[in-house]
Amino acid sequence: MSVDVDKPAQPPADAPPSPPEPIRAIPVRHYGRWIAALAVLAVLFLLVRAFAAGNVNWGAIPEYLFNADILKGLRNTLLITLLSMVIGIVLGVILAVMRQSKNPVTSTVAWFYVWFFRGTPVYVQLFLWFNLGLVFQYIDIMPIYKDEWSDFMTPFLCALLGLGLNEAAYMAEICRAGLNAVDEGQTEAAHALGMSHGKTLRRIIVPQAMRVIVPPTGNEVINMLKTSSLVIAVQYYDLLQAAQNVGRDSGVVVEMLILAAAWYLIATTVLSIGQYYLERYYARGSSRQLPPTPFQRLKAKLSGGPNRAGGAA
């Protein structure tokens, strides 16, 4: 496109040729696509009708949506997810650094940790924490604390340790992959500038590793939110437990399960949006131009921005 905007519509003969006439052709008709779309819609309609006509008291769901017990369960689920992830990330980073250590004892211990916690089901681990009182009868941290194990190991602590320590094994592998993904030349350049190991790790390596670490960690958070429903094994009062209790007491069992599913969906949706923006932040510098966020795109559309950005400039 040229910049001559105020030229007359009919260019003189010696002017550069006007843009070529666009091709006018009859597009191919995709009948197959229409048939496939109709078939999918029909199946969807049948499914929705079946659920609507089924023996489900749909009215109970909005009624209990903000039920105090349900909300308490939801709060506990979010709390245990958050805290287990914090334990998992902190311990995972430590394990990843241990794994790369030149000290053979620390690297081997880290390897065994990952081997054990990744190699056994989290459900079994939760039960183990719950029953560890058979091994340790008392907890005795001499001057400050002494108690029976069963009093000390509350359902909350069982759930937290079970989920958090298990997560640490996965996070360790994610962090290790992230640290290894950073080019060795980065370490050399930082060292050549006189930066210490710690500063190199903190200022140069970790920020770049984050780009590799954040997306799978987001998946882990979403996964953790759902895995946390297993804490029912250690009697922790989470969203699923609350939904089941309310359902049993009020005779709306299936309805409360659907309600719990809805809350899980809402929570994972919010987390996915957060993950999107976090990934964007750590992608800076890696691609020349970040694509606009959906919000920015919407704003551009509403303000009637340039619909054809190409050509000029």
Binding site: E188, A189, A192, G194, Q208, G285
Partner: protein, 267 residues
């Protein structure tokens, strides 16, 4: 080796050499890369290292700032042993912090630039002065801006490395090294990864540095640069110094067969 130093820019009697290597050996496992390197680099000298790939030029360069550990021999920078302290005839290995402190004074420019991709050009240059020297942000930014101007990239301060061409990235990398005010600059094939038309800009910056009296050791395949700017030149092959002298003499009138056959391929 030292007899050829007549053209060095140092006036009068010789000061402490900036770099002195005596019988330096280096192996990686069973691969013997450096087989006894002896050489001296005087202050303010532009010292060029040429040779076929695999001859050990880059390895030797990396030994100078202790990115690689020397296996045998003595290597010193400005009178101080690299990586060790000598007391009562015994060698003590330096702690990581001490190694880092010595590296501050030695700038290094890499073949693949190695800019920090998550920082803009100006942030790349500010990073070490702030983190290592504890300079204030404002002071570091002011000097970084001046350095960018010096390498002709004042308008690229806010660009990320991925938005710069290879030649621009390499010039930012040189500015980044200069920000630490080094007494010695190491260049590891600084133009080998560049498109031919971008090589000139980087060489111009290096010539400018040489004219300012910076001590430079340059591993290069740019024979034109070596001839024009270099004060001494060493031809290495298979881990040993084959021939050394003034660039014009070595390049114009090589004495050894190996030098002749190498130069006949690259000139």
């Amino acid at each position: 080796m030292t007899a050829s130093k007549t053209t060095s820019t140092t006036a009068g009697k010789k000061a402490v050499p900036m770099v002195r290597a005596e019988g330096v050996h280096k192996s990686f496992g069973s691969a013997h890369i450096l087989k006894g390197i002896d050489l001296e680099v005087a202050p303010k000298e532009v010292f060029c290292l040429i040779g076929p790939s695999g001859s050990g030029k880059s390895t030797f360069l990396r030994c100078i700032n202790h990115l690689e550990k020397v296996n045998a021999g003595r290597l010193s920078v400005d009178g101080e042993l690299v990586g060790y302290r000598e007391r009562d005839g015994k060698l003590y290995e330096l702690r990581d912090r001490e190694v880092a402190a010595r590296r501050r004074d030695i700038g290094m420019v890499f073949q693949r630039f190695n800019l920090f991709p998550h920082m803009t050009a100006v942030e790349n240059i500010m990073e070490a002065p702030i983190q290592v020297k504890g300079e204030s942000k404002a002071a570091a930014r002011e000097r970084a801006t001046k350095l960018l101007d010096r390498v002709g990239l004042a308008d690229k301060a806010a660009n990320y490395p991925s938005q710069l061409s290879g030649g621009q990235q390499q010039r930012v990398a040189i500015a980044r090294a200069l920000a630490m005010e080094p007494k010695l600059m190491l260049f590891d094939e600084p133009t080998s990864a560049l498109d031919p038309e971008l090589v000139g800009d980087v060489l111009d910056v290096m010539k400018d540095l040489a004219a300012d009296g910076m001590t430079m050791i340059v591993v290069t395949h740019e024979m034109g640069f070596a001839r024009e700017v270099g004060d001494s030149l060493v031809f290495m092959d298979d881990g040993v110094v084959v021939e050394s002298g003034h660039p014009r003499e070595v390049l114009g009138n090589p004495q050894h067969e190996r030098t002749k056959s190498f130069l006949s391929k690259v000139l």
